[in-house]
Symmetry: C2
Subunit: 325 residues, 2 copies
C-alpha cells in the first residue's frame, strides 16, 4: 500500500488517532499549534513546519534571505493564528555540501530579521549535512493567557466569517514565478507577497483579547480549504459571499492583464498567512482592527460551504471546491 492511497490528510488522521494528548486542556494535532497548559496563567504554544527544496521552494529562484524570512514567518504565523505571543525559534537544517557559506549567511540573516521583527529569540536547533536537497525544519514556541488560544473548534452558529488583509496575492505571485513572467510594478509586489509573508501577530493578539472572537486560523492553503477545517472542527456550515472576498489592487491589475480570474487565487491559492476568524456580530461592530466580513456560519451539514456570487464581476464564477489530491 502506498502513501498516495491514503493521502496527506489520511496520514495525519492516522497519526492523530493514535496520538495521546493526555489529560486536561492539552490540544494536540489538528490545530495551528499545540496548546500545553501551565500553572502560571499561561499556556505554551508550539508549532513546527518543514520546508523541503523542490517541494516548498526552488533554490535558484527564491533569494536566500527571503527563504530565511519565510521559514521563520510561516511558523510565527501559526502562533499568531492562536492569538499568541511568539517567543522563541529553533532552526534545524540539512545542508547540501554545494551550498556556499554566503548562501547560508544570507539565509540566517533573513531568518533573524523575521525573529527580530516579531520579538523572538533563536534558542536552538540542529545543523547536519544533506546528501542532496536543502531541507529546513523550524519550531516556534509562544504563549497565550490560559484558555485564550483560539481553536478551530470554537466557532458558533451565527458568527460572521472575517479575514485580515487581502487574499490571493501570494498564489498569483507564485504563478508569476512558475511561468517566468516579467516582474515589475504590481507583479513584483505579488511575488514579494509570496516570498515575504507577514505573519499577523499583532492582529492575532488583539483579536485574542476580544471574547467574541470564537475561532481562528491562518490562511495557508487558501480560504476555501482552510475554512472547511474550522467548519468541520465546529460542526457548522457557511455561506460565503464571493463579492466580499478582499482583493488587492495589484492582484486585480495583474489578473486583468493576464486574463486570470482573481478569485481562483483568493480562494484556492495558499500562503497568504492572513487570519481567518469567526466573531459574533455585536463584537464585530466594535472591532478596532481592519478586517473584511466574507460570510456567516450556520448550523447544518458540517463542513459545507455555499459560495454566493453577488457582483457582475463574479456571477460567471462557479466555485468547484478545493481538494488537495
Amino acid at each position: 500500500m502506498k502513501l498516495s492511497d491514503i493521502g496527506e490528510f489520511g496520514l495525519i488522521s492516522e497519526i492523530a488517532s493514535a496520538s495521546s494528548p493526555g489529560p486536561g486542556r492539552v490540544v494536540g494535532i489538528g490545530d495551528d499549534c499545540a496548546v500545553m497548559p501551565r500553572n502560571d496563567g499561561f499556556d505554551t504554544l508550539v508549532s513546527t513546519d518543514m520546508l523541503v527544496e523542490d517541494v516548498h521552494f526552488i533554490l535558484d529562484d527564491i533569494p536566500p534571505e527571503l527563504l530565511g524570512w519565510k521559514s521563520a514567518s510561516v511558523n510565527i504565523s501559526d502562533i499568531a493564528a492562536m492569538g499568541g505571543q511568539p517567543e522563541a525559534a529553533f532552526l534545524s537544517f540539512a545542508l547540501p555540501e554545494t551550498l556556499s557559506l554566503d548562501y547560508i549567511r544570507a539565509f540566517l540573516d533573513g531568518f533573524r530579521k523575521a525573529l527580530d521583527c516579531f520579538g523572538l529569540s533563536l534558542l536552538g536547533g540542529d545543523t547536519t549535512s544533506s546528501p542532496d536537497k536543502l531541507s529546513i525544519s523550524v519550531t516556534v514556541i509562544g504563549h497565550c493567557k490560559s484558555g485564550t488560544a483560539r481553536l478551530r473548534s470554537g466557532a458558533l452558529p451565527g458568527d460572521l466569517v472575517c479575514v485580515t488583509g487581502c487574499l490571493g496575492d501570494s498564489a498569483a505571485g507564485l504563478r508569476i514565478i512558475l511561468e517566468g513572467l516579467p516582474r515589475s510594478g504590481p507583479s513584483s509586489e505579488l511575488v514579494l507577497r509570496h516570498y515575504r509573508p507577514q505573519p499577523r501577530v499583532n492582529q492575532g493578539l488583539l483579536l485574542s483579547t476580544c471574547p467574541g472572537v470564537h475561532a481562528m486560523m491562518d490562511i495557508s492553503d487558501g480560504i476555501a480549504s482552510d475554512l472547511v477545517h474550522i467548519l468541520k472542527a465546529s460542526h457548522l456550515s457557511a455561506r460565503i459571499d464571493l463579492g466580499n472576498i478582499p482583493l488587492s489592487g495589484e492582484l486585480l491589475s495583474v489578473c486583468s492583464e493576464n486574463g486570470w480570474n482573481p478569485l481562483e487565487f483568493a480562494l484556492e491559492g495558499g500562503e497568504d498567512y492572513e487570519l481567518l476568524f469567526t466573531i459574533d456580530s455585536q463584537s464585530e461592530a466594535g472591532l478596532a482592527i481592519p478586517h473584511t466580513i466574507v460570510g456567516q456560519l450556520f448550523s447544518g451539514e458540517s463542513g459545507k460551504v455555499d459560495w454566493l456570487g453577488n457582483g457582475a464581476d463574479h456571477t460567471d464564477f462557479q466555485y468547484k471546491g478545493y481538494t488537495h489530491f
Copy 2:
C-alpha cells in the same frame, strides 16, 4: 567560501553569536536543550534534532520501527541530559513517494513506543513529500523545576567525572553494520544498542535532585569529544583514567574476536546516550544510581584532557584526541 571552510562547529558558533537569548535565565544554543523560564516554578526545556537518510541512517539497514524509536529517543535523551521530565513530542517528516505505507506505519509504531515508554504525548508535527531522501525532524519539550536544569557550564574544580552505563557499544554496533559482519550473540546485542538507544530519563531526574551534581550532558559524539564541551563551558581541565572507562562484556568479547581496541569505540564512538556528569566527591559517595567514576576536574587549561592509562590492557593506548573534521 564553502561550508567546509568553517565546519559544523564554526557554523553553530556563528549562529549562536548572532542569536539573542534575551534576558533572564534563558539558556540558548550550546547546551543539550534550551531552557525557558516560567513563573510557575518550572522551566520549559526544548530540544530538536534532524535525522537525514544516508547521513544518519541507511534506509535499507535499520528496521523502520527502530528508526522511529531512535528518532524519538535521541531527543528524549537531551531532556534527560538536563535532568528534565520529557512531556511532548513533535514529529515532522519529508517522505519520498517510494516509501510504503507499511514502512511509515512501522516507523510511527516505533516512535510511539518510545513516547509511551518515557511518558510523552505526540502533540503535533508536519508531513510533507520529499523529492528524494527521507528526512525526519523531531522536537521534544519537557520541564524541570526552576533553575535545576544541569548545564554544561556548571562543573567545579575537584568534581568527579562520572558516567551511567557502559560506553562504546553503539559505535561497535555501527561498525558491525557498516562492515556487514555476522550478527549473533554479543554482536547482535551491540547492533541493538546502536539502533535502540535507551535515554536515561530516570537517572537524569534522580541526578537533578542531588545538588552536588554540577554539570551534565548526554554522550552522543563520544566521551572524548563531549567531555570537552563541559570543560570549555566550565573553563576547566580533566584527568581521565582509561582503566576506569566502563566497557560491557559484549564489547570486550566482540573486540577480542575482531582484534579491535574497545577504548576507541568507548572514547571516540558516538550515540551511547549515556549520561556524563560531574559531582562533588561527598555527594558521589551517597549517590543511589549505578554509575562509574572515570576521572576528575581541575583548574587549568580550559578544555584540556589528560588521558591516563593504568592497566596492562591500556598502556599501549595512545589517545590522539577527537576531531569532527
